[in-house]
């Protein structure tokens, strides 16, 4: 049972140019490291331009996960992709700020819709030939 839980992976969904990662289980450190590797792997395979990480159901984010998320953003930006953290809960935000993890350089959005709009806008400004319909 324990092994099963440990082996369960967080699904990464590719939609158009974005990868959508919805974290719906409690994050433990190993899972976080695995997820990081998994996302980067997927990025290189699909050539996606942005990653949306939805943490709206996460009720607790410790310093490790916080660091993982901000590290994720820097790594992805080296790979020419933007990371947007979506739907952080107020309590989590307060905790992170109290911990001094202000995550500079990480983009955040209130919800998935805003996050996608943000990424699209960024891609548009980066590349005039960008067509959001992927055609």
């Amino acid at each position: 049972m324990n092994e099963q839980a440990a082996n369960r992976k967080i699904p990464i969904i590719k939609i158009r140019d974005f990868l959508i990662v919805s974290i719906q289980v409690d994050m433990h450190d190993r899972l976080a490291i695995e997820l990081q590797a998994q996302i980067l792997e997927e990025l290189s395979q699909t050539g996606a331009k942005g990653v949306l990480i939805d943490i709206s159901v996460l009720e607790m984010v410790d310093s490790f996960i916080g660091r993982m998320l901000s590290g994720m953003a820097s790594m992805a930006s080296i790979m020419d992709a933007a990371v947007v953290i979506v739907g952080m809960q107020p309590a989590v935000a307060i905790t992170l700020v109290e911990l001094g993890l202000e995550m500079p350089g990480v983009d955040t959005a209130l919800n998935m819709e805003n996050g996608i709009a943000m990424l699209e806008k960024r891609l548009e400004s980066q590349n005039e030939f960008y067509n959001p319909n992927g055609a």
């Binding site: 953290i85 952080m88 107020p90 307060i94 700020v97 109290e98 955040t108 209130l110």
Partner: protein, 228 residues
């Protein structure tokens, strides 16, 4: 024989005194020896009665004081509860977060900020941002006379936390005194969007809104034109 004659029924009388004392000890304040006989022993009986009188008086007095004190305590407790409730109400009232436009929240802060109030304000604002899904929050501190390091720190924390949620905070209405304090304290507010007046802040928020969503309703266009 004369000594026996001077004190009549000594045994019964001592027994009576004993009984009376026992009754008083058990709580009967009306028990007295009340001897009708006048002789050498009646002085003792009389003295005991007097003592019992004094004692019961003291007891009554004590009882009365205790009751008064209890009443006072109850009043004070009630008053304290009222004060606490009013404090809570005040805290609740003191951070009204209102949605003034699509995507724009406003939080006018009035009065002196202490850490507790700043904390509650922060929680309220963040909750509201998530509830309404508004991206812009204007923190208007026109009504705040002075701030200290701790409160400035709280403001910074609020702005950072709002940014983590995906919101954006604009602080408006920083008075000259506060500006001086902030600079003297060495607090770096450069990372934060600050505007002189609430009007300016709202304009900024509206215009950014405008850039964000290309389609505006007719009403919005009208009002934006008015603002410009």
């Amino acid at each position: 024989m004369t000594a026996a004659y001077a004190v009549k029924n000594l045994k019964q009388r001592v027994e009576k005194i004993e009984n009376v004392l026992a009754a008083v000890a058990a709580g009967d304040k009306d028990a007295r020896v009340n001897s009708q006989i006048e002789d050498d022993f009646s002085g003792v009986e009389f003295a005991i009665d007097l003592l019992i009188d004094d004692l019961t008086d003291e007891l009554d007095q004590g009882e009365k004081t205790r009751k008064e004190l209890e009443e006072k305590l109850a009043t004070i407790q009630q008053q304290q509860q009222t004060i606490r409730q009013q404090q809570d109400d005040l805290l609740e009232l003191s951070s009204p977060v209102t949605k003034v436009w699509d995507n724009v929240l406003i939080l006018p802060v009035i009065g002196t900020l202490d850490s507790r109030r700043a904390q509650i304000m922060m929680e309220n604002l963040l909750d509201k941002i998530v509830q309404t899904g508004c991206t812009y929050a204007i923190l208007d501190i026109t009504g705040v006379p002075t701030i200290d390091t701790q409160v400035a720190n709280h403001l910074l924390k609020t702005v950072t936390a709002a940014r983590l949620l995906g919101g954006e905070c604009i602080i408006s209405g920083i008075s000259p005194a506060i500006a001086q304090t902030i600079v003297h304290l060495g607090i770096d507010l450069s990372a934060i969007n600050t505007k002189a007046t609430m009007q300016e802040a709202m304009k900024t928020a509206f215009l950014s809104n405008n850039h964000k969503s290309s389609e505006l309703t007719h009403d919005e266009e009208e009002s934006l034109r008015e603002i410009k």
